[in-house]
């Protein structure tokens, strides 16, 4: 069986974000959501010296740079909205599975925005993954 080329990096995502999920619980035992979010940004910046691009950032089109920054802004807003949902009476057991369903937005819009098609097997995988996220987060 030949695994798709993206499978290796995806496993790294699963492991790192999986551990981060545990640390989220531990950090909010000691800090407010806002302060924890600030620590997160500090952590992001700690990696930047190693990620400093060899080429000038200006060599990229302004469109791509705006898209990249908008992407991270949306991610930050999504993280804040999740914390705000919990702060405004949402139970973690409901909010977490609810917000982990964001791949459904990706699946719904990828054919239009990215002109990608999904195979029947991948569609089945998306359904199973969504069910898994809901069940694991209950």
């Amino acid at each position: 069986m030949i695994l798709p080329i993206w499978f290796g990096p995806a496993v790294v995502v699963l492991i790192t974000w999986g551990i981060a999920g545990l640390l989220q619980k531990l950090s909010t035992n000691h800090l407010s959501a806002e302060t924890a979010l600030l620590g997160l940004v500090v952590g992001f910046f700690l990696l930047d010296p190693w990620l400093y691009p060899k080429e000038s950032i200006l060599m990229y089109s302004s469109r791509s740079l705006v898209v990249a920054l908008l992407s991270s802004l949306l991610n930050a807003l999504g993280a804040w909205a999740l914390l705000a949902a919990m702060k405004n009476g949402g139970k973690a057991s409901i909010v977490v599975p609810f917000t982990a369903l964001y791949p459904l937005v990706t699946v719904a819009f990828a054919p239009w925005v990215l002109h990608e098609e999904i195979t029947a097997l991948q569609a089945g995988g998306v359904v199973c993954a969504s069910i898994a996220v809901v069940l694991l987060s209950t």
């Binding site: 499978f7 940004v41 937005v105 699946v107 209950t138």
Partner: protein, 144 residues
């Protein structure tokens, strides 16, 4: 006709906002990686978080709690989140299907659940076990 209580609750609309934002993040992330390399995408990442971080500082009245342990945990989340983000962008750069990559990587609660059982001594329910089975099936389907 009665409106369901959840539709009147703030948390419901915040959750909807989170889902929409996170979905938009994956789509724009894929678009960005068509030209920009994965390390440069991740390099730019914290700059996009700065407006939200500044808003959080303002909400807190520029006063933060003092907890070394809490700070270390939250900074570690940033480092791990950054490494994971780098890997996510690298996966997007391979030309793989964004829907499949996003759904596969969104199963990270699987690892959290396993760690919570091992480290925090939390107990698994039957629903969790069923979730692990669905996650395993999804992995197999994505790899075909």
């Amino acid at each position: 006709m009665q409106v369901p209580a959840a539709l009147k609750a703030k948390w419901f609309w915040y959750s909807i906002l989170s889902v929409v934002c996170m979905g938009g993040w994956t789509l724009l992330g894929k678009l960005g990686t068509t030209e920009i390399s994965a390390p440069t995408m991740q390099f730019l990442y914290p700059f996009g978080w700065l407006p939200v971080a500044l808003a959080c500082l303002w909400v807190r009245g520029f006063r933060l709690e003092r907890s070394l342990r809490g700070a270390l945990y939250s900074i570690s989340i940033g480092v791990l989140g950054g490494i994971g983000g780098l890997a996510f962008f690298a996966a997007c750069r391979t030309g793989g299907n964004t829907s499949a990559i996003t759904a596969a990587t969104a199963m990270y609660p699987l690892i959290t659940v396993v760690l919570a059982v091992l480290i925090l001594r939390e107990k698994l329910t039957w629903l969790h076990v069923a979730g692990l089975v669905f996650a395993a099936v999804a992995f197999v389907l994505f790899s075909l």
